[in-house]
């Protein structure tokens, strides 16, 4: 009888001890996991409308190159980064903004006035005025960025 009691008491204490151990591990472990993976879960970039320049600077039918500096903070260091892209309008009201990074291997494309195309010097990729692939290895059109105009001021969505 006493043997049984001792045994069940022992069992209870064993379970309780292991339970407390598990509880402490969880209390410390779950926040620890959140702490470690925190920066990974942070939204890649908080997107924001960034003013880039005057809409009237963009001639109709000719893509204009814009550069804008943005500040990025991965952790505790503020880095300045330069974004550059072409902005094109065909009617002065609707604008499209295209990254100037070639979708093939990331070289910078440039606007060739005479051919009315974007040309990538690395592997002779050619894009049309609206970013579609015309020739060469690029697998897809130039990336587009959202753009809007307010009071002659161009904004792109980025960050």
């Amino acid at each position: 009888m006493t043997e049984d009691k001792t045994l069940s008491r022992r069992n209870f204490l064993s379970v309780a001890t292991i339970g407390i151990g598990g509880l402490i591990t969880a209390l410390l472990g779950i926040p620890a996991v959140a702490y470690v993976v925190g920066p990974a879960l942070k939204k890649q970039t908080e997107q924001d409308w960034i003013p880039v320049g005057r809409a009237s600077k963009v001639e109709i039918g000719v893509p204009a190159l814009f550069k804008v500096k943005i500040q990025r903070k991965a952790g505790w260091i503020l880095n300045e980064q330069e974004l550059s892209f072409y902005i094109l309008t065909e009617n002065g009201r609707d604008f499209i903004a295209m990254s100037n990074v070639c979708t093939h291997l990331g070289c910078r494309v440039r606007w060739v006035e005479n051919d009315e195309t974007f040309f990538c010097p690395c592997h002779n990729g050619v894009f049309a005025k609206d970013g579609k692939v015309v020739a060469g290895p690029p697998p897809k059109p130039l990336d587009q960025v959202q753009v809007k105009v307010e009071d002659d001021q161009l904004f792109i969505l980025g960050g």
Binding site: L13, S14, A16, T17, I20, L23, I24, L28
Partner: protein
Amino acid sequence: MNEQEKKDYLDSYKKKKEKGLPFFPDILFKDAVISLVIFLALIALAYFVGAPLEERANPADATYTPRPEWYFLFLFQLLKYFPGNLEVIGVVVIPTLAILLLFGLPFLDASRFRHFSKRRWVTVLTTLGMLGIIGLTVLSINEAPPPEATASGDATAALYAANCAACHGPSIQVPEGANLHEIIAQGGHEGMPAWGADLTSDQIDALAGFILSPKGSQFFAETCGACHSAEALVASEPVELKNALLQGTAYPAHEGVEGVEQWAGLLSLEEQTALLNFLVAPDGQRLFATNCASCHGASVAVSGTEEELSATIRQGGLHLEMPAWGDRLTEEQIRSLAGYVVDPETGADGKPLYQERCTACHPARVPSAGTMTEAIEIITTGGSHETMPVWGDLLTPEQLDALVTYTWNASLGTGSGLGQDIFSQNCSSCHGAFGEGGPNPTRAGDIIAPISTAEYLKTRDDITLRAIIAQGQPNFGMSPFGLAYGGPLDDANLDALVAFLRSWEANPPVDLPPDVQSDTVSLTGGEIFATVCSQCHGINADGGVGPSLRTAAFQSSNTSESIFNTINDGHENTAMIAWGGILSSQQIQDIVDFLLSLPESEGGQSGAPSFRVSVLPILQAKCEICHSASDPGGGWVASDAQSVITSGDNGPAVIPGDVAGSILAQKIQNLQTFGDKMPPRQELSAESIQVILDWIAAGAPDN
């Protein structure tokens, strides 16, 4: 413990062990419960209190009061009881002994007894040790800075109640001659903390006033307190305070102010004295600093006795009564008298004349004079050589006693000559003559904290001080002064300067608060130049440690923009720091405009010094104290070019273009035909004298 005892113990332990419980789960369960409780407590602390994080470390911040983590507080507190040479006991001896005792415990207490009742010594000593550690920790926490008291009514009394009453009760008896300000600021005696870090200098002054004259504080609260705060008034000049009290409604600043009454009639003489004693605590050091230092420097050499000093201070200019003996005696008689005065032994033939003529007024001792010329001068012209106020009328008896005691004691010490000279030439323009700091000349609302307080000096070793001086603090507008960093001071100079600063530690000259009343700095480019640039570029911008800014080469090869950029960014590895962080763009532009407006000079030759840039600052620093527009000593006013030239009881002080004939030029060079040299005690630096002479020679332009 012998072998048998050891064996017995092991046997009895074995039995106890067999009767015991298995480690898992019985014992481990208790451990787990305790661990969980502690862990939850830690989580609660982290959640509700949070790990503290203060401002980013700022090595230049002199005002931060360091405190170690709480479990080292007892050591920190222990050190307070071992000042000076005894420090080594608190730092090395006691901790080492404690650690050795711990290590040695099993060997010192090697008997077979284990129960505490059989080991009285160990039990008692351990308990005492722990109580000591806990007691020291509690003491240290209690001495932590209390939250700022927001006081109403008698603010000073509240301040006293909050900070002092706990230990000192309702009032304190102060021994005569005690320097209360210093005692409060530095912590005077056993267990008394240094308040200098927690209270402003004004508050300490108010407290000192309250302790010495609690009644005065009460009168203050009843009369002046409606409009003034005690901390604001204690920083004022005693002369002004007395005038305000005596003149009542007639006092200029009080005119037309509602509520001002004729205090002099309402308060009895005793009450007036109490009030003045409260506002200007009878604290000799402070009285000396505000009243005497402007003419006498850091201390006065006294040749007579303490009673004579007391009489001189009380009577002040009263000994102006001395007649001009030049009218009554022959030149030869004056000579022999002077000889006697300068040295009674070699000039003994003047003794009969002295006894006949002088003993009526100078009975106790022969007045001393430095040189024959000086003595002849004084005897010939009589008393007008001093413009010392009659302090006996201005100060209360308690204040006078304190002032005399302090001056007397101070005169017994000596300053460290070279370091002091270097300090007054290079440092005092920003840090004040006593390192008391003051408004930052280049930045509105900013103050330069005192560097002569015990607190400041205790927390910096010589190496640190030397590094600060040599390398400057570019973030705060201090240029490097070390030769290696492009400044003017070599190693010997730096050492002397550091030694001079260190000499303050034992007895800080003043704890005067930086006095920042005006929030605006409306300096012209020229004035900023004179304050911050001229130390290297010369008072006339014609070069010194730094290059001349007036040569044709400089003026023609630099655009306004390039000069601006140079000032803004500085030159790396030179004493030219980047002023962009210190001065506003407007101020830098003003300097640029000023530089470009300077007339070009060839080969560093200086033209006429500018009155406002070069001359006026000297006059303001050295002369205006006695020659202000409101109180012109000798009728001469040193505050603007017009009065500098024309005013003076003895005719115009300056004859433009005529250096030899200008009284001002004569007096600063000690070439005068009457009266004393000027300034009476301190001498102007050779450079300053040259500036003034150049200015006169150039026709004394008001530029």
